[in-house]
Symmetry: C2
Subunit: 489 residues, 2 copies
C-alpha cells in the first residue's frame, strides 16, 4: 500500500520509515489559527455521543476553536444519562451547544459520530437518513465500514466520509491535550482516512480536525486498513495480549518462587514502568543493551520462547477481524448484555495484590525483569511483523503497536490496574480483551513457559530478526516527531 | 421444534421426555438381518476419509453387513497417508474395498463423507460434481450445511442428503460396537436427519446406517439443529468447558493448600471417574444426595457460583456458532496450519503431574470433590438450559450435553489426559477447545472462584432450578434405553 494526499492549508512532510516514503502532517497549537481556513464551509461541528472519545474530542475541538465562528455542539439521545456529564463540561442547551442527537446530526456540517460501535451498527440507517447531502461524516474508527461490508450496505453517496482516529483512549486524548498547553507536541497521534470526498475538501477537514484535537503527528491510512489494524491491535499487544501476558507471568513468577508482591512487581510494575518508559524514550534495543550479560541470555530465551506462540494467536486475531467475525461478535455480545452485563475481571488474587503494591510503592524496587521484557517485546514484535506482512504502513504499525501501548494505555494499568485501563476503552476493546487475553495466557503457559522451564536454547534466527528489524529505525523517526510524554507527569 | 418420521423397516417407539413426545428407534444386533431390506437399492456404501469417524464407521458397517451383497468401500486420496491404516483394517485394493476418493464417490449408492470439515469446505464442489443423481449423500455432521449457508450455496437437488451423527468420537464408536457383541445395547447413540429425500427412501437408509454402526438409540433432529448443538456442545461441556474447568480447578485447589497430586486427583480424577460414572448410571441428583451435609453446602455454593458465568460463555458460543462465525474460524485456522501446526497443550505442570498420578493410581483415594462436582454439573446444567431455550429436542440435549460427555469423552481424559481425549476428536473440535477452554477458565477465576473464596451465599433460585429441572426425568428415560457402559471395561 502507498498513499498520498494534498492539502491547501497545512504543510505535509515527507518522512522515510524503514526505507519507505510516507507523508505526514505535524500538529501543534501554532496551527490553530489555520483552522477556520481549513474548516471554511463548516459552521457547526456536531459531536455525537459521550463515552470514550466523545468527551475528549468535543472539549478539545471547542477549546481549539474558541474565538472562531465555528460552533461545537454535542448531540445525545433525549434521555441520555450522559447529559449531566456533558453539561458539567460546559455543553448545555442554554448556550446552544447541546441538543437531541438527530437534530444535531441534521444541523451539522461536520458530523463526528462517536457513539459506540454497536449503537452505530444498530442505528446507522436512521442516522444516514438524518444527514443532509453535502455533510461530512466523521468517524474515529472504521468499525461501521466493517459492519456495512458484512451486511452488504454502504455509506450514502452524497456525503464526505472521513476518519480521524486517535491512537489512544479518550481520556488520554484529553489529558495530553491539556499537557500540550505547556509541553509543545504533547498529544495523541492520529491517523486520518479519506473514504469519500464529494466536494474536494475532505482532506483539509480531516487534518483540521486532527490538529484541533491536539495530535502531534497525523498520518494517512484508509478506513479499511484503520479498522483492521485498530480492532486487531487492541486485541493484540495494546490490551488483550498485555493482559494475558501479565496474568500468565504473574503465575509463572509465583511458581518460580516469588512472593505475591514480587510477582506483581516483576510483571505489571516492571512492564508498565521501566519497560514502557524505555521503549517510549529510546526504543527496544535500549532495553536489551541495558541488561547484564546473564539477563541478556534470559531475555533472549524468553523472547525466543514467546515470539512464535504470540505470532500464532495474532494471526488468528487478524483473520477474525478481516473476515468480519470480530465485528459480528461485538454486535452479538452487546445484545447479550441486556441479560448479563459485562463482568468484573480484577477481583482475583493478582489484582488484589496489585492494590497493595500500589499503596506501598517503592519505585527503587522496580527494575526491568528480563523474562517480562522478553515476553512483552516478543509479542509486540510479532504484532509489528504481522502488520508488515499484511501491508500496513509503518506509521500505522508504529502507532498502533508501540506508541499507543507505552504512551496511552500501559500508564493506566500502572495507575490503577487492568480494569482501569480497560474500562476507559470502547466496549469493542473491552470485549476483545476478554476474548483474547485468555488465549495468549494459555498459549504462553503451554508453549512459552514450558520452553523456558526446560531451558530451551535461543532460536537465533528469531532473535536475529529482533536485532535487525527495520522497525527500530521507523520507531526512532516517529519518536523524534513528538516529545516523550508521561501522561500523569 | 417437533419432528416425526415414518419407516417401513424398523419399529419406532414413542418416549416422553420432560412431558414432550419424541419418537426414537432402538438399535441392536438383532436388527442386522433387516439391513438388506432397509438398504434395498444400495449396492455399495462408500466411506470417504480415514480420520476420526472414518475407521470406526467403515469397519462397523462392513462387519454388520457381512454376508449381504452390500459392499463397503473406503475412498481415499491417491497418496493419502491413511492408505496403510485402511489396509491394515482389511480395506484393500486387492479385495475391491479401497479406491481413489472420487472414483468411490461416483460408484457408490450411499456415500458417507467423513473427510475433515475443512476438507469438505474446500472440496465440496468437486465432490458434488462427482456424485451421480439419485445417490444418497450421508454426513455425520452438519458442518457442510453451515458452510454452504455462509457462502450462499446449497446441495445438489437431485440427491438424498441424510445425516447419522454418532454422539461420541470415532474411537468410542468402534470400541463400544465391539463391546456390543457381548453386552446388548453397548454403543454410541446417534441422531439422524433427513435433509433431502428425493426417492422417499432416505429415512430407512439413515436408520439402517445408524443401526449398522451400532447405535443403541437413534433419535431424530435436523441437519441445522445438529450442527448447531454439535459444534456448540464440543466447545461447551464436552471438551472446551471441561478442559477449562479442570485447569482452573487444579490451580484453585493448589491455592487452597492441596499438593499437586491432590489437586490433580480432586479435579481430573474425581470428575472423570466417580462424578462421570454416577451421572451415567444414576443422574445428577444421585451425586448431590450422596454427599454429607457439609459437602452438600459446598456443592450448592460452587454450583451457584459457576452457573451464571458458565451460562454467559455458553450463550456466546451458541451465538458464534449460529452466526456462522465458528465455521468461518475453523476454515481459516486450517489454512494457518500450513504455517503453524496445531500446538501441544499438555506440557504444563498439571498434566505432567497427571502422568504420575495415573502411574500410581489408588482408586480408593478418589472421591467426589464437592467443588469439582458443583462447578462441573452447573456448567452441564447451564448448557442443558441454554439448549432448551434455543428449542432443541430433549433427546439431542441429553445426548449432546450429558451422555456423550460421561460415556464417550471423559473416559479418554481419565485414561491419558486432556490431549488424548482431544486428539481423537475432529480438528473442528480441537480448535474449538483451544478457543473456548481459556474463556471458561478466566470467567471461573474472575467470577466463580472469587465468589467461592468470599464464601458468597448460595443463589437459592439457581439451585432450585437444579433440583427441579425437567432434565432429570429426560436423562433417566434416556439412561434406561441403553446399558451403562464403561468404555474401557
Amino acid at each position: 500500500m502507498s498513499l498520498e494526499f494534498s492539502t491547501n492549508t497545512f504543510e505535509k512532510e515527507k518522512i522515510i520509515l524503514a526505507g519507505k516514503e510516507e507523508y505526514i502532517v505535524g500538529g501543534g497549537r501554532h496551527l490553530f489559527p489555520l483552522l477556520p481556513k481549513a474548516f471554511a464551509e463548516i459552521h457547526q461541528i456536531g459531536v455525537i455521543g459521550w463515552s470514550s472519545q466523545g468527551p475528549a474530542q468535543a472539549q478539545n475541538l471547542r477549546d481549539s476553536l474558541a474565538g472562531t465562528n465555528i460552533k461545537v455542539k454535542v448531540g445525545l439521545r433525549k434521555n441520555s444519562s450522559s447529559i449531566p456529564l456533558a453539561e458539567k463540561a460546559g455543553f448545555t442547551r442554554d448556550n446552544g451547544t447541546l441538543g437531541e442527537m438527530y437534530e444535531v446530526i441534521s444541523e451539522s456540517d461536520l458530523l463526528i459520530l462517536l457513539i459506540s460501535d454497536a449503537a452505530q451498527a444498530a442505528n446507522y440507517q436512521q442516522i444516514f437518513e438524518a444527514i443532509r447531502p453535502g455533510t461530512t461524516l466523521g468517524l474515529s474508527h472504521g468499525f461501521l465500514l466493517g459492519h456495512l461490508k458484512n451486511i452488504g450496505d454502504s455509506f450514502p453517496e452524497t456525503i464526505n466520509v472521513i476518519a480521524v482516529c486517535p491512537k489512544g483512549m479518550g481520556l488520554s486524548v484529553r489529558q495530553l491535550y491539556e499537557q500540550g498547553k505547556e509541553i509543545h507536541g504533547a498529544g495523541i497521534n492520529s491517523s486520518f482516512a479519506i473514504h469519500q470526498d464529494v466536494n474536494g475538501r475532505a482532506t483539509d477537514y480531516a487534518l483540521a480536525w486532527a490538529v484541533a484535537i491536539g495530535s502531534p503527528t497525523i498520518f494517512q491510512t484508509t478506513l479499511e486498513s484503520e479498522y483492521k489494524s485498530d480492532i486487531f491491535g487492541e486485541r493484540g499487544i495494546l490490551l488483550g495480549a498485555v493482559h494475558g501476558i501479565v496474568e500468565s507471568l504473574y503465575r509463572w513468577l509465583i511458581r518460580s518462587g516469588h512472593s505475591q508482591e514480587e510477582a506483581y512487581i516483576n510483571s505489571v510494575e516492571s512492564l508498565t514502568q521501566p519497560i514502557s518508559n524505555m521503549i517510549s524514550k529510546n526504543g527496544f534495543l535500549s532495553i536489551y543493551i541495558s541488561l547484564t550479560d546473564a539477563e541478556k541470555e534470559t531475555f533472549k530465551k524468553a523472547y525466543s520462547a514467546a515470539y512464535h506462540p504470540a505470532f500464532e494467536i495474532l494471526m488468528e486475531i487478524y483473520d477474525e477481524v478481516a473476515s468480519g467475525n470480530e465485528i459480528r461478535s461485538v454486535i452479538e455480545a452487546n445484545n447479550r448484555h441486556q441479560r448479563f452485563p459485562i463482568g468484573k475481571i480484577d477481583g482475583t488474587e493478582m489484582w488484589q495484590v496489585g492494590v497493595n503494591v500500589r499503596d506501598n510503592r517503592r519505585p527503587e524496587k522496580v527494575s526491568i525483569h528480563p523474562v517480562t521484557a522478553g515476553v512483552y517485546i516478543a509479542t509486540m514484535m510479532a504484532q509489528v511483523d504481522l502488520l508488515k506482512e499484511k501491508g500496513h504502513l509503518y506509521s500505522e504499525i508504529v502507532n498502533e503497536s508501540i506508541i499507543e501501548a507505552v504512551d496511552s494505555l500501559n500508564p493506566y494499568m500502572y495507575q490503577k490496574g487492568v480494569a482501569h485501563m480497560l474500562n476507559n476503552c470502547s466496549m469493542t476493546a473491552q470485549l476483545g480483551t476478554r476474548k483474547w487475553a485468555p488465549r495468549f495466557d494459555y498459549i504462553f503457559c503451554q508453549q512459552a513457559f514450558t520452553a523456558l522451564d526446560d531451558n530451551k536454547q535461543t532460536d537465533e534466527k528469531v532473535f536475529e530478526n529482533f536485532l535487525t528489524n527495520d522497525i527500530h529505525q521507523a520507531l526512532s523517526i516517529c519518536t523524534q516527531l513528538r516529545p516523550s510524554v508521561d501522561i500523569f507527569g
